[in-house]
Amino acid sequence: MPDPTSSPTLTVDSAAPNPAPNPAPNEASNETLGRFNFLAVIGRIILAFFQQVGRLSMFTASAVSHCVRPPFFPRQLLGQMVEIGYYSLPVVGLTTIFSGMVLALQSYTGFARFSAEGAVATVVVISITRELGPVLAGLMVAGRVGAAMAAEVGTMRVTEQIDALTTLSTNPMKYLVVPRLVAACLMLPCLVLVGDVIGVYGGYLIGVNKLDFNAASYIQNTWDYLETLDVVSGLVKAAVFGFLIALMGCYMGYNSRGGAQGVGVSVRNAVVSASILILISNYMITELFFAQ
């Protein structure tokens, strides 16, 4: 550290001569660059984007191919299933129950204007099973599990633990990535199924206790208009979301650079990219299932 009393003069001194010595070449290069700078920036961004897409595709292909090739690590898989499935239950349960409750309240307000209050139960169950259950659970799990994966794998990368795995003749893709991918694909549908039930129950609570529906007819309405496809499409979404969450968590963690800051960046990127991919793929799967 420089002496605090001398630092003001230092900064003035060092700042002043910088632009002074050779203004001419600087200006000239700026001018020629200026014309191309804009294009160069766009080019660089696009190249970086495709580089990332390429890397991610290679990573995905490698991860998926390792899923079907032994050796497998059942102990790791079980651990991840407990971590992703069991420990996410409270988060998913809370999210869906309040979503179901608010959905009942809001749709009641809307339908009352058309005297169609009877549709509340149907709207709640269809919205929860088709959309809100998988999407909200996916986003919550992306924050909870995706971030944890990126942080854990990223820390293992920057502390050379992934290199250590390789030197111990253990493929890190098989040991770290595959169990997380498979566990997330299996557990997310389970979570969403539980979340569906809890969300519908949330709607039921509000419907019966606050909006004075008859309990039996609320349940009747719920069942009558629910189709298998509603639930199945939600579960397919959940599996895809699980895959995306684990993939982004592992990919970002696996490619972490630098120390704590690098891991922080990976965690942020994992959560943001997983969330965005969930919303995009949600639209595409919906289109696939329900577009007429």
Binding site: P71, F73, E152, M156, T159, E160, Q161, D163, A164, T166, T167, L168, S169, T170, N171, Y175
Partner: protein
């Protein structure tokens, strides 16, 4: 060297990152049961050399042979097979913090050699004893250990499956001088007991002289000096002289910007 074929042979190994040439043609042979130490300043490519041999990085050119078998460009399976010959002590120990100490030591035995967990635990405790740690640390988590103890556990893990070749990446960095010497002694003892070939990298001259039979100096991507460990202090090479005596003035200029 001797008539027996070299355990590890590097010839013309080159590696660059972008425009920066890190390794510019490395030639080095390590005989069976010999211990070679590569010394050199920070950023001269010591770690890169090691990572190339381990297969963590792929050299741009040149050949690396282990037991006469070319290992550059091997597939996953073949690489795993080659890596079973290796043990490695990382600079930061790189212990798996999600596992206990004994599971760390036994990792290669359980995953690589498919040993039963109970038997692997016994072997792990035996190896921990070999590096001077009691059975009471076996069930601790690595984060509960001091730096010196973590290095010992790392060493125990490196020698757990009696590897033919052990790599040491800066084994004494970050340790106090006494602990560093203890680790050096342990390395010499363990390498002898296991009967392994050793390749180490360090910038600690005391450590290099203690654990190495031969020392090689890496500078600007080339090995500029290779000789017996005993002669490193009076090698007659101005670069080596400057490095081993730690002088700021001399032919080596510190690159502050890479």
């Amino acid at each position: 060297m001797s008539a027996s074929p070299p355990k590890i042979a590097l010839s013309g190994v080159k590696k660059r990152f972008g425009r920066k040439v890190v390794l510019d043609g490395i030639d080095l042979e390590v005989a069976p049961r010999e211990s070679v130490v590569i010394i050199g300043g920070s950023g001269t490519g010591k770690s890169v050399t090691l990572k190339c041999v381990l297969g963590l990085l792929k050299p741009d050119a040149g050949s690396i042979k282990v037991d006469g078998e070319e290992v550059v460009g091997l597939g996953d399976r073949a690489r795993e097979r080659i890596n079973t010959k290796f043990g490695m002590l990382f600079q930061s120990a790189a212990l798996f913090d999600s596992l206990t100490v004994w599971e760390n030591v036994a990792f290669g035995l359980i995953q690589g050699h498919k040993m039963a967990r109970r038997k692997a635990r016994e072997k792990a405790i035996e190896k921990l004893a070999q590096v001077g740690l009691g059975a009471d640390v076996a069930d601790l988590s690595p984060s509960e250990l001091s730096g010196g103890m973590q290095k010992r556990v790392g060493l125990a893990r490196a020698i757990a499956d009696d590897p033919e070749i052990i790599f040491f990446d800066e084994p004494t960095t970050g340790l106090d001088p006494i602990m560093a010497d203890v680790i050096n002694d342990l390395i010499v003892k363990c390498v002898k007991e296991v009967g392994a070939t050793a390749l180490s990298i360090t910038h600690d001259i005391a450590s290099a002289r203690k654990i190495g039979d031969r020392i090689a100096m890496l500078y600007h991507g080339k090995l500029i000096w290779v000789g017996p460990a005993a002669t490193v202090l009076d090698s007659g090479n101005p670069y080596v002289d400057q490095f081993v005596h730690g002088r700021a003035d001399g032919p080596i200029q510190m690159e502050l910007r890479g």
